[in-house]
Structure formats: structure tokens, C-alpha cells
């Protein structure tokens, strides 16, 4: 028997306790045995199930979630309560809640972390959310590589069922719910909700054309809601404390707390729960969070919300174009549009130090999207291959100056021309890398030998925002 060493001792130094900020999801993360039903209940677990099923109507639960302002934590940021209210409720037709635990966005590992350490937070959220939506069978679609987490969830479901929180006539309220874990087969595209539903039906993960949206015709053609792990777990504190209380946390339309997966060249990578609105600078440099850039190096760039969102140079990461501090919120990260901003996305925060090569990283990401394109739409199937090939030759000293504009041209022709957002996700990293780091791409062409053995560093990466417009004009 091999050890299940996914609880790596080397990662135990990552402390998630921060007494300053409120924690809703990870409050009890360091409590020994919190993965068990017994300890989870001692810490107040399953109160939300009791409260919702015994004292609230499904509509009232939906109303609390609407009031909370909770926005989808998987990446799109669509208001969860509104998504729920779109669910069609035809008589005599089953409705489904499907949890999207296909966490595959490079830079994102918060769901894996939550499911590993506090599986009951997700199970409890699933019960309350299924009740709100009138679902009697729900599925948690977990990416297949997370077999250890699948076993953890199955064990937690068995515990919850034995305690009367799942199955027939839950807590004597007459509400019935069966909850199952479904493994994926290894495909990034299945994080797209309609591809996920195809996969759950035992097919290739090809995204469906929308409309109809899953709320009308989802799993097996029935009305279906698909929500991310973190969104569903957040329903628990919303029901416990009320939507208004939840909405008091955060800033503006970015309410509540958010799990941020921090990776790359940081002193303390790991999963952190932040109150939305935290300054990016504090998140990177404060000892409560990432503790600064590893090995005493300088920050060169960040990808703030998973590989699909635009990369930003250090100056625009820390400050808006007008010089004000940038905050960890949906609005502040997007401030300035794609010219000077990015997106919160899934909260996959990747930091690049001064020694990292932007061209190499962009090539790496493009290879990822080429590999993960389902092949259904030709702009994405062919275009991602072009991006990978052109970036490969630029990175390996065989590029031409015209390749940079060709890259821009190809990504423009993918973006917006595909059934699902994978095409956009493949385009944005390339576009933003050229927008902010064009000098570095040019250096790879001018110095084909030197660029093989040394790095461009962070010198001279002024932000030629105007160039974006020039390039656009040329290619239109």
C-alpha cells in the first residue's frame, strides 16, 4: 500500500490563520480531524442544513443567496442567486444540481484544497443548495486525477448519510436527496459547464451551443444548475448568517471572501482566504499572505486569476493606470479593461520573478490550450496549434519579427469565434503578453543565441499600450 502523502509535510508551513481578516470557509482548516463529520459538527457544521430544511422555504434560501451578492467562484463571476433563479421548474421533470469540481485552470488549486481538508463544507453546501433548487439527485463532478479527493468525498457522503443528512426524509423534513461523486477522465474543457454535462452523460467533453442554457435543458435534457465548489461551500455561511451579513464583507459588488490559490515565485505559496478588496500589494508582500517574492528577487509580472486572464507587469499589478492601489476584487482587477487591467477569474494568482521568461511562459500556456482544445471549432482547434508553433520558434531562437504580429493576428481570429470560452482563454494570455512585453518578444528575435541562455530580465518593459491599437489597425 502506498502512502497517501497528498498531505505533504512540506506544505504544513503554510498557515492560513489570519486573525485580522474574517474567514468563512477556512476558519477551522487547522483543527485536527476537521475532515470528519464529528469534528466538523463540533465546529458548527450542518447547522445550515438544519436551518434551511426546518425553518426556510427553498425560495427563501434562493433569496438569501441573491441578497449575499455571491458571484460564481469558478471564474466567470456570474451572480449565483441569479443563476439559481433562472432554473426552469416544469411539473414532473427532475431538476439537477451539479457541482463543478473539475478544477483544471492552471494556477488554481483551491477546490482541491477545500475538498481535501474540509469535505463536509462542500457536502453541506450541496444539501442546502439542492434543497433550494428542488433537486433530489445531485452530482459532484471531480476531475479524474483527484482520486484521493474522490475517496475523501465518498467517505464524507457516507458519514453524512449515516447521520441522516442525506438519503430519504432528511432530518424528518420529508426532503430526499441522493448525492454522488463522478470522476472525470482528464480534460480541461470539462470545466466548461456544458462540456461537463456532456462528460457526465458519458460522452466526449464537447461544449454545447447555448441557448438552451443548462437552467432550461442541462443534464439529460432536464433543468440543471452547475456551480463551482467554492460557490457551493459559500452557501453555508450565507444561510447561517444571512445574505445581508455576507454582503457586508468585501467591497462594492465583490462581496464576501474568496479563496486565492497563490503559486509561482512566492515565499509562501498556498491557498488563502481573503476578504475581497484586499490590496494586491498587501497580498503579495505581507507576511500574513504570500510573504513576498522568493529568494529576494523582484516581481516581474503576475497572472492574477488563472492562466486564462491577461498577464500584467508588476507596476500594473500593484497599481491602477491612475496610480491608485489595485485591489483583489472583480472590479479593481478589471479596472482599465484589457489595456491596463486583468480579471479575478478563478483566483489563481501566479507570480513571476525577474528571472522568468515571458515568451517561454506564453509558449507553455499556448501548448496547454492547444492540448486541451476539444477540436470542435476550427478557429480554436487550428489557431491554438498555430499559437503554440509560432511561440515555440520564437522561444527557441528561430522566430522572425513578423511572427509577433502574426501571433496577434491569430489570437484575434480565435477570440469570440468559438462555441465556448476556451478560444478566448487561449487568446488572452498571448495578447496580453505581446501588449505588455513586446520588447521581450523582439529581443528573442534580435538575440536568438543569447535568449537561449540568458533572460531579458525586467529592464525596459515599458507598457506600449498604444501599440495595441497600431497592431489592430494593421491587421484589420
Amino acid at each position: 500500500m502506498r502512502p497517501r502523502n497528498f498531505f505533504s509535510p512540506l506544505t504544513s508551513h503554510i498557515s492560513h490563520l489570519n486573525n485580522m481578516a474574517r474567514k468563512l470557509l477556512l476558519e477551522h482548516i487547522n483543527v485536527p480531524g476537521i475532515h470528519t463529520l464529528e469534528v466538523y459538527r463540533q465546529k458548527g457544521g450542518y447547522r445550515a442544513v438544519e436551518k434551511a430544511l426546518k425553518t426556510l422555504t427553498p425560495e427563501e434560501v434562493v433569496e438569501e443567496v441573491k441578497k449575499s451578492g455571491l458571484r460564481g467562484r469558478g471564474g466567470a463571476g456570474f451572480p449565483t442567486g441569479m443563476k439559481w433563479s433562472f432554473l426552469a421548474k416544469p411539473e414532473g421533470v427532475a431538476r439537477y444540481l451539479v457541482c463543478n469540481a473539475d478544477e483544471s485552470e492552471p494556477g488554481t488549486f483551491k477546490d482541491r484544497y477545500l475538498m481535501t481538508h474540509i469535505p463536509h463544507a462542500l457536502i453541506e453546501g450541496m444539501i442546502v443548495s439542492s434543497f433550494a433548487l428542488g433537486a433530489h439527485t445531485s452530482y459532484i463532478y471531480v476531475r479524474g486525477e483527484m482520486m484521493p479527493q474522490i475517496r475523501i468525498l465518498e467517505k464524507a457522503i457516507a458519514e453524512a448519510k449515516a447521520a441522516g443528512f442525506l438519503g430519504q426524509n432528511i432530518l424528518g423534513t420529508g426532503y430526499n436527496l441522493e448525492l454522488y461523486v463522478q470522476p472525470g477522465g482528464g480534460a480541461y474543457i470539462c470545466g466548461e459547464e456544458t462540456a461537463l454535462l456532456e462528460s457526465l452523460e458519458g460522452k466526449r467533453g464537447n461544449p454545447r451551443i447555448k441557448p438552451p442554457f443548462p437552467a432550461i435543458a442541462g443534464l439529460y435534457g432536464c433543468p440543471t444548475v452547475v456551480n463551482n465548489v467554492e460557490s457551493i461551500a459559500a452557501v453555508v455561511p450565507i444561510v447561517n448568517d444571512g445574505g445581508d451579513e455576507y454582503a457586508k464583507i468585501g467591497i462594492g459588488r465583490s462581496t464576501g471572501t474568496k479563496l486565492i490559490s497563490a503559486s509561482g515565485n512566492l515565499v509562501k505559496p498556498g491557498v488563502y482566504e481573503i476578504e475581497l478588496g484586499l490590496p494586491v500589494e498587501e497580498f503579495i508582500y505581507s507576511d500574513e499572505y504570500c510573504g513576498g517574492i522568493a529568494n529576494g528577487k523582484k516581481l516581474k509580472a503576475t497572472v492574477a486569476g488563472g492562466s486564462s486572464v491577461p498577464i500584467l507587469p508588476a507596476n500594473l499589478t500593484l497599481k491602477l493606470a491612475n496610480g491608485e492601489p489595485r485591489l483583489m476584487s472583480y472590479e479593481s482587477l478589471a479596472e482599465g479593461g484589457f489595456a491596463t487591467g486583468t480579471m479575478l477569474g478563478s483566483g489563481g494568482f501566479i507570480a513571476f520573478d525577474e528571472d522568468q521568461c515571458i515568451v517561454r511562459n506564453t509558449w507553455n500556456f499556448s501548448r496547454f490550450y492547444h492540448h486541451e482544445s476539444c477540436g470542435q471549432c476550427s478557429p480554436c482547434r487550428e489557431g491554438t496549434g498555430w499559437l503554440e508553433k509560432i511561440l515555440h520558434r520564437l522561444e527557441h531562437g528561430q522566430g522572425k519579427m513578423s511572427d509577433i504580429d502574426l501571433l496577434w493576428d491569430v489570437q484575434r481570429k480565435i477570440e469570440g469565434n468559438t462555441i465556448c470560452p476556451l478560444g478566448d482563454a487561449a487568446s488572452w494570455p498571448v495578447a496580453s503578453a505581446i501588449r505588455h512585453f513586446r520588447d521581450e518578444f523582439e529581443w528573442h528575435v534580435k538575440e536568438p543565441i543569447k535568449s537561449q541562455t540568458s533572460n531579458y530580465g525586467i529592464a525596459n518593459y515599458a507598457v506600449p499600450i498604444e501599440k495595441k491599437e497600431e497592431i489592430k489597425q494593421e491587421n484589420l
Binding site: S8, P106, E145, G185, R204, G348
Partner: protein, 172 residues
């Protein structure tokens, strides 16, 4: 690539079929095809890879056409359509892992095992390959080994050496 040349017929044990039955019961009547991905995982765990012969048997069990199984098995990255080593070291090769040395780890594994990506060592014990993001970027570099998909995190050349030696000597 799907390997379809002459294959020995495959039989599923009654214990395995009982597991299939349990999975099929999770879905509404007539929607048994939903069990396809989980069943293919069980088949691969049992036989070490997903052969055409095994897929034909799965199709028969689920009352679907064999092509419906082939097209799924070839779409997803986790199903091995060729025999592999007993231990397949799958190293994450996506951006965040590469920022902290995943490429060096892959080169090291290639040298240590003496086989290229996808090949099998002569003793039949090991294969390795790069895979895309495994959602463990904060603990990078990482690798996983099926069929339990145990994760090994914060890899160094030394920890990889030890892992390979331990697997060789049946210490894990």
C-alpha cells in the same frame, strides 16, 4: 492512438462487475452511459491500460456501441490506449510548475529511468510523461502515480530518486 490489433479476449471478474452495477445505480434508468468514465477508470486500474478488447466488453455491458467507448477513451487524457509500465510517473508540465523547476525534474526522470516520454523501461516497471496542470500549483513541482493517483509534491531531484528507488524495491 487506439491499439486494435489482435488482442486476447478480456473477462471481467464478478467483483469488478459488481462495482460496475453499483456505479450504474447512480443514474436514472436508461442513462447507464453516464457510468462510462468511472467504469473505464476501474478497467484501467484492473488491467493497467484500456485495451480495445476491454472497451468492447464495456460497450457490451452498458448496451452501447463500441465506438461510443473508443471515442470517449481517446478524448480524455487519463486512459492509456497502449500498455504502460507498472508505475506511470505523470509530471505536471504547465506554467506554474515550470516556474519552479518542473522541466528539470522531467529531464532528471528521463535520465534516471533511461527511457523517453511514453516509453516503458526494459523491466516493465516504469513509464513517465508530462501532463497538463494537476491543480497543485502551490506545492509545485508535482507528479502523480495511478491508479490511486497519489500525489508527490514539492519535488526535488533527490526526492524523485528516492521515490523511484522505493517503488523499485517495493517499499511503497
Amino acid at each position: 492512438m487506439l491499439k486494435v490489433e489482435e488482442q486476447q479476449p478480456v473477462t471481467f471478474s464478478s467483483a469488478l462487475v459488481a462495482n460496475f452495477d453499483e456505479i450504474v445505480a447512480r443514474y436514472p434508468k436508461g442513462k447507464q452511459k453516464s457510468a462510462l468514465l468511472p467504469i473505464l477508470h476501474l478497467v484501467q486500474a484492473e488491467f493497467g491500460w484500456t485495451s480495445a478488447a476491454a472497451m468492447d466488453k464495456v460497450a457490451e455491458y452498458l448496451h452501447i456501441e463500441p465506438i461510443e467507448v473508443y471515442e470517449v477513451a481517446s478524448f480524455y487524457s487519463m486512459y492509456f490506449l497502449q500498455p504502460k509500465g507498472k508505475y506511470v510517473l505523470e509530471v505536471c508540465r504547465t506554467g506554474p510548475c515550470c516556474l519552479v523547476g518542473a522541466e528539470k525534474i522531467m529531464t532528471h526522470i528521463e535520465n534516471k529511468l533511461g527511457v523517453k516520454e511514453g516509453e516503458v523501461t526494459t523491466d516493465g516497471l516504469f513509464s513517465w510523461r508530462g501532463v497538463e496542470c494537476l491543480a497543485a500549483c502551490g506545492f509545485a513541482p508535482v507528479l502523480q502515480i495511478g491508479p490511486e493517483y497519489t500525489f508527490y509534491e514539492n519535488l526535488t531531484e533527490q526526492s524523485v530518486d528516492k521515490l523511484i528507488d522505493d517503488l523499485k524495491n517495493n517499499k511503497i
